[in-house]
């Protein structure tokens, strides 16, 4: 019931090559609630994967395990084929190159954009004095690379709009050289125009070779950006589809259970 589960469905709907991140047979329970049941998961370089499913389907739990916030009960995580253990978010970042951009964004509102992007990795002089000149220049460069338009890198993050805050959070991950971005409901609290900007940002990340995982309820959004869609239902992975080979109707059917999940993935 652990690493031996056949992940054959991926053969059908996965890009070729070695996954940069792989999870095998992940299970997690909270008290009596089995949030994840023997779930496999894999990510390839430069793709956008959407995790979809109803509330409580297990997608957020999986993301929290991959980002080191929760400990898995069982199963294995592999980074480029090597088994790793995440004891906390820092492990996930350092060992896995995984960065999570949370729904509430986890930014320090009283500090400016540049300070947030480089929090705890500020360029320094003599080891402790922040080199503000380099800090602002570097931050400007990151924003430029991602084509992010902000009034100034010296504006306090607390004064930015939701989309701009999202951009700062993503820049922060990029500044740390992360290759995998887990975005939890990136467009949830945003207006249409800002949603488009975030979508563009996701595609830009992919163009730079990053892998992006998007958790979303919003199928419109998912179909705009994702290459692969992975559907969760009641703690299980019930389907994996390439966007080019599926329809919204099929995905909705998988989410609600109207369409029966793939046999292998729904087993156990």
């Amino acid at each position: 019931m652990t690493a031996t589960v056949n992940n054959s469905p991926n053969l059908v709907s996965s890009p070729p090559g070695t996954p940069i991140l792989e999870a095998r047979g992940i299970s997690k329970a909270f008290g009596h609630v089995q949030a994840l049941k023997n779930v496999d998961f894999e990510l390839y370089p430069a793709e956008v994967v959407a995790l979809i499913g109803d509330n409580g389907a297990g997608k957020s739990t999986l993301v929290k395990i991959l980002s080191g916030v929760y400990r898995k009960d069982s199963g294995q995580i592999l980074v480029e084929g090597q088994p790793v253990e995440f004891h906390g978010p820092v492990d996930a970042q350092r060992l896995g190159g995984i960065s999570t951009v949370y729904q509430d964004l986890a930014l320090v509102n009283v500090r400016d954009v540049a300070s947030n992007i480089y929090l705890n990795i500020e360029p320094t002089r003599f080891g402790i004095f922040i080199n503000f000149k380099k800090l602002y220049a570097d931050a400007q460069e990151i924003l430029h690379r991602l084509k992010i338009d902000l009034p100034s890198v010296k504006v306090n993050v607390g004064e930015l709009s939701g989309g701009q805050r999202q951009a700062v959070a993503i820049s922060r991950a990029l500044a740390r050289g992360r290759r995998i971005f887990l975005l939890d409901e990136p467009t949830a609290a945003l207006g249409v125009e800002q949603q488009d900007k975030v979508n563009q940002l996701i595609l830009d990340l992919k163009a730079h070779g990053s892998t992006v995982v998007v958790i979303s309820h919003n199928l419109e959004h998912v179909f705009k950006v994702a290459d692969r869609l992975i559907v969760f239902r009641r703690g299980r992975r019930v389907g994996t589809r390439l966007k080019s080979e599926t329809t919204k109707e099929e995905i909705v059917g998988l989410i609600t259970g109207a369409i029966k999940g793939d046999a292998v993935e729904a087993a156990t």
Binding site: L107, V110, R111, N120, F129, P151, E159
Partner: protein, 331 residues
């Protein structure tokens, strides 16, 4: 608030005054000037050199401790035990000197070590065990004050050798050693908060613990160090207070009622009870404001019983402003 920051972002090199007034911590200058004017109109003696010296000398104790408290409160914690720590370090050092014959400098080091230990205990109970800092440090403060009385049998410990009073009688630049220490600490804390990675970690810890932890900041360690620094500065204050007494003695009553001056001063100085906001310069002005009120009421011949309630009211006003400001920033 937002306008202020935008204005700051627009001007690349704002003048010193502009920057000073743009910081909301400096807003305290206005009540400070108003109060001095008010007292001056009642009795010009408030601006007599001797009164000013007295204000500066008295505010130095809460001011010095405030420089640790401002860091601690920015991380979102608080220490109500500092005044008691002053008492215990003084009594402990005095007892070592008089009863155990320990040299003064050595006794001072032991006493400061004790203050660090108390800060560490505060940190462990708050950060590791999870007791709210108000309860932790209130309890530890009561215990510490109690030990202090027990240790001294309720009486001042004296006579002490003359050298105990040495630092207390020094007057560098015409002010006390504590005052000089406070100014030095203010500069250090100001630089730490605004110019260093430590400052970034301190603000992140108090504003958004999750954000801090995600980027790998050990928020528990940040808080623990802040607790220990605050307690250590309280220890220094205790020893210097003893040294400054007309008849230097380890008096358990040292620091009594000083909690109000420290906490209220720091809050008046723009530190937020919710963490994430505060400055060293604001703290200096806040503590100064408290002392101006105390001294001004004496000079202006108000009934001395009014002092404490007036200080309490000022603290409540500052705390209310803090809450309103916090709610607005939460939106």
């Amino acid at each position: 608030m937002s306008q202020i920051t935008r204005a700051r972002a627009r001007f690349r090199m704002p003048s010193f005054m502009h920057r000073l007034l743009a910081r909301h911590e400096s807003a305290i200058l206005i009540p400070l000037i108003l109060l001095v004017t008010f007292f001056y109109l009642r009795n010009p003696a408030i601006l007599a050199p001797i009164t000013i010296t007295s204000i500066l000398r008295t505010m130095a104790f809460p001011g010095l401790i405030g420089m640790g408290m401002v860091i601690l409160m920015i991380t979102g914690e608080i220490d109500l035990s500092t005044a008691s720590v002053m008492s215990l370090t003084a009594v402990f050092a005095a007892s070592l000197i008089r009863d155990a014959g320990v040299p003064v400098w050595q006794a001072s080091i032991y006493a400061l070590g004790l203050s660090l230990l108390i800060g560490f205990i505060n940190a462990v109970l708050t950060v590791r065990v999870g007791v709210h800092a108000v309860l932790t440090t209130l309890g530890v403060g009561l215990a510490v004050r109690g030990f202090s009385y027990l240790f001294a049998n309720g009486l001042p410990i004296y006579p002490l050798p003359e050298e105990v009073g040495y630092l207390g009688t020094l007057r560098p630049l015409g002010v006390s050693v504590v005052f000089v220490l406070m100014i030095i600490m203010m500069v250090i804390v100001h630089v730490i908060l605004n110019r260093t990675t430590w400052g970034a970690a301190i603000f992140a810890t108090g504003t958004n613990k999750l954000a801090a932890q995600i980027v790998g900041i050990n928020t528990n360690r940040v808080k623990t160090l802040a607790f220990m620094l605050t307690s250590f500065l309280a220890g220094c204050s205790g020893l210097l207070y003893m040294s400054q007494l007309p008849l230097p003695s380890g008096d358990p009553i040292i620091g009594k009622n000083l909690e109000l001056d420290i906490i209220a001063g720091v809050i008046l100085g723009g530190v937020s009870f919710f963490g994430g906001r505060g400055s060293a310069i604001g703290t200096l002005f806040g503590v100064m404001l408290m002392q101006v009120i105390r001294t001004g009421m004496v000079v202006a011949q108000f009934d001395p019983y009014w002092q404490i309630p007036v200080l309490g009211l000022f603290m409540l006003a500052a705390a209310s402003v803090d809450v309103i400001r916090h709610r607005r920033s939460e939106r």
